[in-house]
């Protein structure tokens, strides 16, 4: 891009690409379909060691979200995308805190709580 190119954007909106092309969406669709099929296959199969299935599903889901972000929402690591990526990073941090924090606290609480039957007995 030349220095005085009036159309040369130095920052981009999310969902917008310099060379917004159909090909990007086709590649994204292909990857997303592949990851979805693998997810559904792994969930129903007995070929994989059982306890590893939730981990595999989580990894596949995160990969597919990444594919959506890059190919559909055009969030990239380029210097014109820093604002979008910083907002995304903050969002991901909050989501992680809410999810992990809730699960952690609630599992500890369930663990440390008296079984419900005994609790009912005491209240009688």
């Amino acid at each position: 891009m030349s220095e005085f190119d009036p159309d040369g954007p130095t920052d981009v909106a999310p969902g917008e690409d310099d060379a917004e092309s159909v090909l990007t969406y086709v590649v994204g669709l292909g990857l997303a379909v592949a990851l979805t099929i693998v997810s559904f296959f792994i969930a129903g199969t007995s070929l994989v060691w059982g306890p590893s299935i939730p981990v595999a599903l989580t990894v596949l889901a995160i990969a597919q979200m990444g594919v959506h972000l890059v190919f559909f929402l055009h969030i990239t690591t380029g210097p014109d995308n820093v604002n979008n990526v910083m907002a995304l990073a903050f969002g991901v941090l909050i989501v992680m805190l809410i999810m992990a924090g809730s699960l952690w606290i609630m599992s500890h609480m369930n663990h440390n709580m008296m079984p419900m039957e005994q609790l009912m007995q005491m209240q009688r």
């Binding site: 559904f40 989580t58 979008n84």
Partner: protein, 217 residues
Amino acid sequence: MSGAAATDPHRLGRSSGHRHAASEHAAGGLHAKRIITGYGFWIFLLSDIIMFSGFFAAYAVLSGNTADGPSGKDLFDLRNVAIETACLLFSSFTCGIGGIGAHTRRGLWFYGAMTVTFLFGAAFLALEIHEFADLVARGAGPTRSAFLSAFFTLVGCHGLHVTAGLLWLLTMMAQVFAKGYRADILRRILCFSLFWHALDIIWVALFTVVYLMGAGQ
């Protein structure tokens, strides 16, 4: 410069360097507005995702509390979920194509792709409503257990978003038809496609956490 700095204090519309200042100022108006609109809507979407994470956390905590009622393994029909997923994924794809069509002012692309987007979205919604009605008819409504309350809240909230998105899509098609590809209309189309893609991202988390993990337990 001072006016631009007042409306865009964090330089969302421009790079941090000053080299481009002159050309930016001359050409910046349209670009800057589109970028700032997109950025603001991106922040809204992230806050929407954070709201969903609350529902996800509630579901994850309550998913085992079935009150001796049916669990996900008894209820979920993965074939139905696979069709729903395909509908939403393809509608996300055609929505992107429609966005390109609007950007390049090709009516056939825009109207054609957005019509397909609407049909896939409507098919998704019909399948989901059918699933909900079926669950309620089998006595597994939202009042049955904490698990089902959380399930209906989470999936229903996503369904409400899809409903709103479909209405918005129709509005955008009508606005393009009535007003043409004006800059403000194109900005709204950008926001709509961001919204629609974000719904698909939430659905990825949803079918993984709720349906695939629920059916596998």
